[in-house]
C-alpha cells in the first residue's frame, strides 16, 4: 500500500467523528483536518499553550485506556457440584385485578424512595460529571438490602417468593432519584438475582455468601455489545470448548461499574446457543476500559474485552439451550422499563412545578394549553408505561410467560420515555438545555431504555 493511500485511509471520513462513509473530503477539507490534528497535539499542551482541562486522574471518563480486571477476592469453591440451587416459588395472585403493592413491597418502596430523594438526587449531578457513584452512597445501598432483594431467604437474602414485581418497584423508586446511580446501585443485585434464579448449589454456595455478607463485591451482568443494529440474541462473543472448560473471546460494552466488578456474568454463544458464563474479574485475558456514554454516566460504564479467557466447565449459569440467556434478556429489559418510569416521573414532577412558577406574558406559562397539554400527555403516557410494565413484572413474578408483555413494555417505555425526556427539556426552554436543571440529564438517561441490554435485572 502506498504511503498516500495509507494516509488517505487513516483520515478517511467513514466511521470516524460521526461521519458516514458517504462523505468525502476535498483539498480544503484535508488542510482543515491537518490544522485540527495540530490543534490536538500534546506538544502544545506540554508547552503550556493550552489550559489543561481534562481530569488528570484516569477514572472511567475516558476510553482507550485498558487495564486488567479488578484483582478481586478469591471466591472459594463451596457447595455440591451439579446439585440444583435453592429456588423461591412463584407469586400466587388469586386472579384478582389489583394495583395495590403488598405491604412488604410498599415498605421497600418507602425506604428506597427516601434513599432516592435524600441520597441519589443530591449526588446525581456530580456523579454524572465524574462518572463515579460515591462510595458512601453505594455502601448505604447495601445497608438497605438492594443486592439481596432477589436472593432467597434460605440463602441469606430477603426473597420469599419470586421478586420481579418488588424489583420493578424498587428500580422505579431509585431511578426517580437518578438513573445512573440507580444502575450503579442495582448492578451487584442483578448478578445476585441471576445466581438465585439459575445458579447450581455450588455456584450459589460459592458466590452468594459474598453478596449477603458485609463486603459485597461489585458485579455486573454483561450482555451488551457495540454493534450497529445490535441483536442481543446474536452475540458476537464466542465460547468454545477447551480442555476442562471453555475459552471466551469478545467485547462487552456499557457494562456498569466494570472497572470495580469482581464478578461478571457474560453472555456468549456456545455451539450456536446463547449461554451465560460466570467470569471472575481476575481471569487472565479480561481487560477493562472506560466506556462513557451519553447518559447513565454515574454507573461508570465500561468496556470488557475478553481475550482467550479460560473458564472452568462449571462456569455456565443456567441452561445451555438458550432459555436462561433469553430469560435474562427479558428480565433485564423489564428492569430498564422500571428505571425509565422512575426517571419519567422525576421529569413530570419537575416540570409540573416549573411551568407553574415560570411566568411569561404576565402569567404562569402553565396557563397556556400548549404547555399544559404537554404536561398532561407526559402524565398519561407515564401511567401507560407504568401499567404495561407492571403487568409484565407481575406475570414474571407469577411464573407466567411474559415475553409479549415485556416486549410491549420495552416498546412503550422506549418510545414514550424518550418523548417525556424530550418534552421535559422543551418545557424549560433554554433552561432545560443547561446543567443548572437536571432535565437535560434525564433526557440523556432516557435514551438508554430502548437500546441497552443487561446491567440490571429484576
Amino acid at each position: 500500500m502506498s504511503l498516500i493511500r495509507a494516509t488517505k485511509n487513516a483520515v478517511a471520513p467513514g466511521g470516524k467523528h460521526g461521519l458516514s462513509n458517504r462523505e468525502s473530503r476535498d483539498p480544503i477539507g484535508y488542510a482543515v483536518l491537518a490544522l485540527n490534528k495540530l490543534a490536538q497535539s500534546e506538544l502544545i499542551d506540554r508547552m503550556g499553550l493550552r489550559k489543561q482541562t481534562e481530569q488528570t486522574v484516569f477514572t472511567v471518563t475516558r476510553s482507550g485506556f485498558k487495564v486488567a480486571g479488578q484483582a478481586g477476592r478469591a471466591f472459594a469453591k463451596k457447595g455440591k457440584k451439579g446439585a440444583d440451587g435453592v429456588r423461591v416459588p412463584a407469586a400466587n395472585a388469586q386472579g384478582v385485578f389489583d394495583l395495590t403493592p403488598t405491604d412488604d413491597e410498599q415498605m421497600l418502596v418507602d425506604v428506597v424512595s427516601e434513599f432516592a430523594a435524600e441520597a441519589l438526587r443530591p449526588a446525581a449531578a456530580e456523579a454524572n460529571e465524574t462518572c463515579v457513584a460515591p462510595d458512601d452512597l453505594l455502601k448505604s445501598s447495601l445497608e438497605i438490602g438492594l443486592p439481596i432483594l432477589g436472593v432467597p431467604e434460605k440463602l441469606g437474602g430477603i426473597s420469599e417468593e419470586r421478586s420481579a414485581m418488588a424489583g420493578t418497584l424498587v428500580a422505579e423508586a431509585l431511578a426517580k432519584g437518578d438513573m445512573g446511580l440507580a444502575v450503579a446501585a442495582l448492578a451487584p443485585g442483578a448478578v445476585a438475582t441471576a445466581l438465585s434464579l439459575w445458579g447450581t448449589d455450588e455456584q450459589q454456595s460459592t458466590y452468594l455468601p459474598e453478596f449477603t455478607g458485609d463486603d459485597v463485591p461489585a458485579a455486573a451482568l454483561a450482555l451488551n455489545e457495540s454493534k450497529v443494529l445490535f441483536d442481543v440474541l446474536k452475540p458476537s462473543t464466542q465460547a468454545v470448548r477447551a480442555e476442562g472448560g471453555y475459552v471466551l473471546n469478545g467485547v462487552k460494552t456499557l457494562v456498569p461499574r466494570g472497572a470495580q466488578a469482581e464478578l461478571f456474568i457474560i453472555g456468549a454463544e456456545l455451539d450456536g446457543k446463547n449461554v451465560l458464563f460466570l467470569v471472575e474479574s481476575k481471569a487472565e485475558g479480561l481487560l477493562v476500559e472506560g466506556d462513557p456514554a451519553m447518559g447513565v454516566r454515574a454507573a461508570s460504564l465500561a468496556k470488557i474485552t475478553l481475550q482467550d479467557v479460560k473458564v472452568p466447565a462449571d462456569a455456565i449459569l443456567g441452561a445451555t439451550d438458550g432459555s436462561t440467556y433469553l430469560e435474562a434478556v427479558r428480565l433485564s429489559r423489564l428492569a430498564w422499563c422500571a428505571l425509565s418510569i422512575g426517571t419519567a416521573q422525576a421529569v413530570l414532577d419537575y416540570v409540573t412545578q416549573y411551568v407553574n412558577e415560570r411566568h411569561a406574558f404576565g402569567e404562569p406559562i402553565s396557563h397556556r394549553q400548549s404547555v399544559a397539554f404537554m404536561v398532561a400527555n407526559i402524565a398519561i403516557e407515564l401511567q401507560s408505561m407504568r401499567l404495561v410494565t407492571y403487568k409484565a413484572a407481575a406475570r414474571a413474578a407469577q411464573g407466567k410467560d411474559f415475553s409479549r408483555e415485556v416486549a410491549l413494555a420495552r416498546k412503550i417505555c422506549g418510545d414514550k420515555g424518550m418523548q417525556i425526556g424530550l418534552d421535559g427539556v422543551q418545557l424549560l426552554g433554554g433552561h432545560g438545555f443547561v446543567k443548572e436543571h437536571p432535565v437535560e440529564r434525564w433526557y440523556r438517561d432516557l435514551r438508554a431504555v430502548s437500546l441497552v441490554e443487561g446491567g440490571v435485572l429484576v
Binding site: 385485578f97 413530570l348 398532561a376 402524565a379 401499567l387 407492571y390 416498546k411 437500546l451
Partner: protein, 403 residues
C-alpha cells in the same frame, strides 16, 4: 398484590361476550353500516338474552348499566365488580361492532346517567328502561355548562324548551336523559338532568344524522317545545347548590368515560387481530424478543400499536377498578379516555394503511373500524377536553386559569 390480568371471576362473561360479538354482531356488521337508519332487529333477541343472563346472575353488568357504586359492604378487600365487568364486556362487544353495541336496547349512556345520579326510588322506577343521553346542542358541545335548553318549574312538572343534537339512539330508546338549566344566570350549578319518556307531548325527533361511522347507531336531533315532565323525573337533587356546582351532573362522566375508552379498546383490537393475521399471511411475523428497530417497518409499527393498545386497555381497567373500589377516578377516567381515543384512531387508521387495498376496500371491515373509531375520540368529552381535565388536575389550576 399487583396483578393486571383479566379478573378470574369475569372471564366467563368475557368469553360469552366474545362469542356473541363474533357470531351475532360480526355477521350483520356490514349490513347495518350500509343500511344506515335501518333498525337492527337482531338486537332485540340479543338484548333479551343479555337480560336473561343478568337475571340469572351469570353476568355482572354486561353493558352500560352496571356502573352504579355500591355504597354498602366495605370489607377492605380488593373488589373486581360491575365497573370492571362492564368495561371488559363492552370492549368485547365493540370488538364485534361499535355501532351495534351503541344500539343495544337498554344499554344506553342515559342508563349510565340514571345509574350514576338517580335516587333509589328513581332507580327502581326506571329499571329496564332504555335511556338515551341528550347534552349537546347546536350552539354548544364541549362547553356543556353553557347549554341553553331550559327547565321551568310549573307545579308538579318541569317545562322543557330547547334543541338537542347528537342523541345516540334518540329515536329508538324508551326515554331520553336531557340536560337543561333551571336558571342560566346561576351557571353550571343550575344544570339538572331530566328523564323524558318517548311520546311525551312537545318532544319531537326532527331527523337522524348521516355519519362517518357507527352508522348502525341512530343519532337524532330532538326538539323540546313546552315539553312537560313530572318533577319526580329530575335525577338527583332539585336544589341549586352553587358550591357543589356541576359535580353532580359531571359525576356521570367518571362512569361513562371508561366505557367509551373500552369501546375504543375493543374497536382497535378488532383491527389489530385481523391485521396481525393478514400480515402473517403476507410473511410478516411479529417477534417479541427482537427489538422493533431490527424488524420490518410493518412489524415495528405493529409492536408500537400493540404496546399503545395494551396501555389503553390497562388505563381503562384501572379507572374501572378504582370505581369498583370506591376511589375517586375522574383523573384516571380522563387519562383512559384520552389514551384510548387517540390510540383507537392511530391503530385503526394504520391498520388500513398496512393492509393497503385490502384495508381500504369494503370487502374487509378494516376501513369501517377506522371510521367507527373516530367518534370515540369525540363523544363523552373530546381528546382536548380530557387533556384539559388532566392538566388542570395535575397543575392545580381552575378553569378560569387554564381555559
Amino acid at each position: 398484590m399487583i396483578n393486571l390480568e383479566t379478573p378470574k371471576k369475569h372471564r366467563a362473561l368475557i368469553d360469552q361476550a366474545h362469542q356473541v360479538a363474533m357470531n351475532m354482531l360480526r355477521p350483520i356488521s356490514r349490513k347495518y353500516d350500509l343500511g344506515e337508519h335501518e333498525y337492527p332487529k337482531e338486537l332485540d333477541m340479543l338484548a333479551a338474552m343479555i337480560d336473561g343472563l343478568s337475571e340469572s346472575g351469570a353476568s355482572e353488568g354486561a353493558g352500560a348499566t352496571g356502573v352504579r357504586r355500591d355504597e354498602s359492604s366495605d370489607d377492605k378487600t380488593v373488589k373486581n365488580g360491575a365497573n370492571l365487568a362492564s368495561v371488559l364486556s363492552v370492549a368485547e362487544m365493540c370488538w364485534g361492532d361499535t355501532g351495534l353495541l351503541l344500539s343495544m336496547p337498554r344499554q344506553g349512556l342515559g342508563n349510565s346517567a340514571i345509574a350514576s345520579v338517580a335516587n333509589d326510588e328513581q332507580l327502581k322506577r326506571f329499571e329496564g328502561t332504555w335511556a338515551a343521553m341528550a347534552i349537546t346542542e347546536p350552539g354548544i358541545g364541549s362547553d356543556s355548562a353553557n347549554l341553553s335548553t331550559t327547565a321551568r318549574k310549573d307545579g308538579d312538572e318541569y317545562v322543557l324548551n330547547g334543541e338537542k343534537i347528537f342523541v345516540t339512539s334518540g329515536e329508538r330508546a324508551d326515554c331520553v336523559v336531557v340536560w337543561a338549566t333551571l336558571d342560566k344566570a346561576l351557571g353550571r350549578a343550575a344544570i339538572k338532568s331530566f328523564v323524558v319518556e318517548k311520546g311525551t307531548p312537545g318532544m319531537n325527533v326532527e331527523r337522524l344524522e348521516h355519519k362517518l361511522g357507527i352508522r348502525a347507531s341512530d343519532t337524532a336531533v330532538i326538539t323540546f317545545t313546552d315539553c312537560r315532565v313530572p318533577a319526580a323525573n329530575l335525577l338527583g337533587s332539585p336544589e341549586v347548590d352553587v358550591k357543589q356546582g356541576f359535580a353532580g351532573a359531571m359525576a356521570t362522566f367518571d362512569n361513562t368515560r371508561p366505557l367509551v375508552a373500552a369501546m375504543a379498546v375493543g374497536c382497535a383490537r378488532a383491527s389489530l387481530d385481523l391485521t396481525r393475521g393478514l400480515l402473517e399471511e403476507a410473511g410478516v411475523e411479529i417477534d417479541y424478543d427482537r427489538p422493533a428497530q431490527l424488524q420490518s417497518a410493518a412489524a415495528a409499527k405493529f409492536l408500537q400499536m400493540e404496546a399503545d393498545w395494551e396501555a389503553a386497555q390497562l388505563l381503562t381497567m384501572q379507572a374501572a377498578w378504582m370505581a369498583d373500589n370506591r376511589k375517586p377516578n375522574s383523573l384516571e377516567a380522563s387519562m383512559a379516555k384520552a389514551k384510548a381515543g387517540r390510540v383507537g384512531s392511530d391503530i385503526t387508521l394504520s391498520c388500513v394503511e398496512l393492509a393497503a387495498g385490502v384495508g381500504y376496500s369494503e370487502t374487509e371491515l378494516l376501513e369501517k373500524w377506522s371510521r367507527d373509531s373516530k367518534i370515540l375520540d369525540i363523544f363523552e368529552g373530546t381528546q382536548q377536553i380530557q387533556q384539559l381535565i388532566v392538566a388542570r388536575r395535575l397543575l392545580g389550576l381552575s378553569s378560569a386559569e387554564l381555559k
